[in-house]
């Protein structure tokens, strides 16, 4: 069965304390791996797409990487405004299969 698993479920960081979020997937017909950010009461906001193992994408303090079995979202020197839920999703044929997300809290 196709599945996406994210860890940890929740992460508390001090401002400036770098860390990584993990997304492992078992999707037979993977067409892409997507990262989204979701703030309370809002829809997911697109961050990155990764299409092949070894690919990396960067945006400000965030960097996403992809292997054949997992993806990582690295957060460098986070700020309080980076606090949100980060969702990973695998594109299977025509639909996204989502993980349950990592709730990130960054404290000043």
């Amino acid at each position: 069965e196709d599945q996406v698993t994210q860890s940890p479920e929740a992460l508390r960081l001090q401002e400036g304390e770098s860390s990584s979020l993990n997304c492992s997937y078992t999707v037979s017909g993977l067409r892409g791996l997507f990262w989204y950010r979701q703030d309370p009461g809002k829809g997911p906001e697109f961050l990155f797409t990764l299409y092949s193992a070894g690919e990396e994408k960067e945006k400000e303090r965030l960097k996403a990487t992809l292997t054949k079995k997992e993806s990582f979202l690295h957060i460098t020197a986070p700020k309080p405004e980076d606090s949100a839920t980060y969702l990973c999703a695998a594109l299977d044929t025509d639909k996204l299969i989502f993980g349950t997300g990592t709730r990130l809290q960054v404290f000043p």
Binding site: G41, L87, K95, L96, I97, F98
Partner: protein, 113 residues
């Protein structure tokens, strides 16, 4: 508008009533998706439209759920004879083609009393 628009933003209704949820995708996007997000759970795929056709309805939880899309644009998700387990946030997304990023609206929060 520039983004995906959903209405209403909130809907409270009594068990057994029918509800209609609307989605206006980004202009020019041919692919449209409906997802459901329940408390403490991940987003769950419901249905996918390419143009006005729905090649994948595999995620619709029961025959009480239906959706249509007209003019390759606006889509409506209808839930008949609502049940309390239908309470969730219903999210709509659109993309320019299947493998491109899906862009989401802010959803309709549906509460069944």
């Amino acid at each position: 508008g520039a983004g995906v628009s959903q209405s209403p933003s909130n809907k409270v209704t009594e068990k057994g009533k029918d509800v209609e949820l609307r989605c206006d995708p980004i202009s020019g996007h041919t692919a449209l998706y409906w997802y459901r997000q329940s408390l403490g759970q991940g987003l769950e795929f419901l249905i996918y439209f390419q143009g006005n056709s729905a090649p994948d309805k595999s995620g619709l939880p029961s025959d009480r759920f239906s959706a249509e899309r007209t003019g390759g644009s606006v889509s409506t998700l209808t839930i008949q004879r609502t049940q309390q387990e239908d309470s969730a946030v219903y999210l709509c997304a659109s993309s320019s083609q299947g493998s491109q990023p899906q862009h989401f609206g802010d959803g309709t929060r549906l509460s069944i009393l």
